[in-house]
């Protein structure tokens, strides 16, 4: 089977720890130049999958090829051909900017005849020219994160893994960072993003949601918002809010009700049919309805809907 060097191909991947199936026959095909988002609650199998894809954990069965190498048989080659960045853990804060870059160049075995050019490139990309001697720990969040990205791609890996890369960074720096990522993807780098941060998920071309070891949704952000919710979403402004949630939890045809700021979010099977029913139901319970409308679900609504219906707040793994 012809396989592109830049892609990530996962076929029936399984990882078991004793009796516990952490990753349960997942298959994904990620194209060259794609920004792919991998989402899932804590304990869903996300980290186990990433560790296998990075060649750090051997699969129990199935296979995965990353950058053309089999993660089970050629983990060394996989590790040399990927970049990994996590905003929180990548850099040594007490080293200078240039020292971090040199350290990572060494770790990734950047050839000495390319070293200077790659250092220049990383400084340029991270917009840190002239700042080489600053102590990394003193840099603002947005700079640090660009430096971490520069360090992760010094060896020009065809596939990069990003773990919540822009959490806590100011929105303008975040947009600049994603511009860099989109630019790399346009040049053919495959980007695999894991995050809990729905604002980051919006930047991905496609998203997969893993839950209890299985992929439960796969598609573009718009497809997931359009097709993956079990039902439709209503926003209701009413008074008093607290009573309304309790009353609506037991209302017919209401799948879920939750407070959201000064309003309620209600998941119902059919919005058009539910609006008059809900209005009547609430006024029968002496609750005044101010405003009610159908709203577009956010990715977070989709995420919560897909990961709670088969589960009531329980965790299956410590």
């Amino acid at each position: 089977m012809p396989e592109d060097n830049n892609s990530v191909v996962i076929e029936n991947l399984v990882k078991q720890f004793g009796d516990f199936v952490a990753v349960d026959h997942i298959s994904l095909d990620i194209r060259k130049g794609e920004v792919f988002g991998f989402l899932g609650p804590n304990g869903a199998g996300k980290s186990t999958t990433i560790r296998m894809l990075c060649g750090l954990l051997t699969p129990t069965s199935g296979r995965a090829r990353v950058a053309g190498y089999d993660v089970g048989r050629e983990p060394e080659s996989v590790r040399q051909n990927i970049g990994y960045m996590s905003q929180k853990f990548s850099l040594y804060n007490d080293l200078k900017v240039i020292e971090n870059i040199r350290l990572f160049a060494g770790l990734y075995s950047v050839p000495s005849n390319q070293l200077q050019a790659r250092i220049e490139w990383a400084l340029e990309m991270a917009n840190l020219k002239g700042q080489e001697n600053l102590i990394t720990g003193t840099l603002p969040g947005g700079w640090k994160q660009r430096l971490a990205l520069g360090c992760a791609v010094l060896h020009k890996p065809p596939v990069i893994f990003l773990d919540e890369p822009t959490s806590g960074v100011d929105p303008i720096s975040r947009r600049q960072f994603w511009d860099l990522i989109q630019h790399m993807a346009e040049e053919g780098v495959t980007v695999f993003v894991t995050t809990h941060y729905m604002e980051e998920a919006e930047y991905c071309n496609r998203l997969a949601l893993i839950f209890r070891g299985k992929i439960v949704a796969l598609g573009t952000p718009s497809e997931l918002k359009r097709d993956s919710m079990k039902g439709e979403l209503l926003l209701i402004e009413c008074e008093p809010l607290g009573n309304a949630v309790e009353v609506l939890q037991s209302a017919p045809d209401v799948i879920d009700a939750a407070v959201f700021g000064n309003a309620l979010h209600l998941v119902v099977r059919d919005a058009a049919a539910a609006i008059p029913q809900v209005k009547k139901y609430l006024s029968d319970h002496s609750i005044t309805v101010g405003h009610i409308e159908k709203i577009r679900p956010s990715l977070e609504d989709v995420f919560v809907s897909l990961t709670t219906e088969r589960d009531s707040g329980k965790e299956r793994k410590a």
Binding site: E164, Y203, G242, F303, A318
Partner: protein
């Protein structure tokens, strides 16, 4: 229950500097009983410093603050009786069980045993953690730890709670549980001041203060903040987002354009006028697109608009 309109937290002109940086710059706001108030902003905006000053563990350089009517500078002990502060890393004992941690904090806060049992059962129920009472705290997931921290911080029924980024790193499902507890507390009349770096989380608060580099940019309800933007926000859905960007990025009327995973997020002067213009451009260039829709602005749109039109230049420095 206290008067709903009474301010439980009052900050006036709070200011704190560290060498080389003014962490909090003349910040004023108040939080009423029963209100969830969000301090929203990126890392380094001054959220933690503000909370520390209100918790009475860091004196302000200037300004005053009171919690539950007690001045936090002159009477920090008085204020401490009424508040609970949950720092980013709450001190759970990892080798104690969930129940033992709760009992320990209950003792520290001098909670009577009868009260404690009832209270902790109720809080654990709300947190969806009843089955985990015998589990070691060290064996809980990140989201569970945060919820346990909150439970411990609430055993003495404080009137005011200060939470520093309680949902950072917590998955959306646990985050929602967490918010459910906050709404219940608010409905019991507790004043809640919580910080977050997730701008989308601002929408869950009754009122928010947007912070940037120590300064308070805006303070209002999320709905009023969005109305302040005064610009239209368009969502372009396309199977060729990069092609759409190339066609539209130099179009007239755009104040911000962001390439997303399957389209563009564009802030424009006049949505009604720009939608047909953009559609015509994309059609002429044969770029496939599903729709251009006007969408509700996000808090992020407002934040970016505010910092790039005002003090934005310093953001890049």
């Amino acid at each position: 229950m206290t008067d709903q309109a009474q301010a439980a937290i009052v900050a006036e002109g709070l200011t704190k500097s560290f060498p080389g940086v003014r962490a909090v710059d003349h910040s004023s706001f108040d939080v009423r009983s029963g209100e969830i108030f969000g301090l929203v902003g990126p890392d380094g905006a001054g959220k933690t410093t503000t909370l520390r000053m209100l918790a009475g563990i860091m004196p302000p350089d200037e300004g005053t603050a009171s919690v539950g009517g007690f001045d936090v500078v002159h009477d920090p002990e008085g204020a401490k009786h009424h508040l609970s502060y949950m720092p980013q890393r709450f001190g759970l004992y990892e080798d104690l069980t969930v129940d033992e941690n709760i009992r320990f904090y209950g003792d520290l806060f001098g909670v009577r045993k009868t009260d404690r049992e009832e209270r902790s059962a109720q809080l654990l129920q709300a947190a969806g953690m009843r089955e985990f009472r015998k589990r070691l705290a060290g064996k809980l997931s990140g989201g569970m730890k945060q919820k346990l921290g909150l439970v411990c911080a609430l055993t003495h029924r404080p009137k005011v709670i200060l939470l520093d980024e309680p949902t950072t790193g917590v998955d959306p499902v646990s985050r929602r549980d967490f918010w459910r507890i906050l709404y219940e507390l608010a409905s019991e009349g507790v004043a809640i001041l919580t910080s977050t770096a997730y701008l989308d989380e601002a929408e869950r608060c009754h009122r928010v203060a947007l912070l940037h580099q120590g300064k308070l940019l805006f303070c209002d309800t999320p709905a009023n903040l969005k109305a302040k933007l005064g610009k239209g926000v368009l969502s372009v859905t396309s199977s060729d987002p990069r092609g759409s960007r190339d066609q539209l990025e130099h179009a007239a009327g755009i104040s911000s354009l962001v390439l997303t995973g399957d389209g563009l997020h564009v802030v424009v002067d006049d949505a009604g006028r720009r939608i047909p213009e953009f559609e015509a451009r994309l059609k002429d260039a044969h770029i496939p697109f599903d729709a251009i829709q006007q969408v509700t602005p996000t808090i992020e749109d407002l934040f970016i608009d505010a910092v790039s039109s005002g003090s934005g230049a310093s953001l890049h420095a």
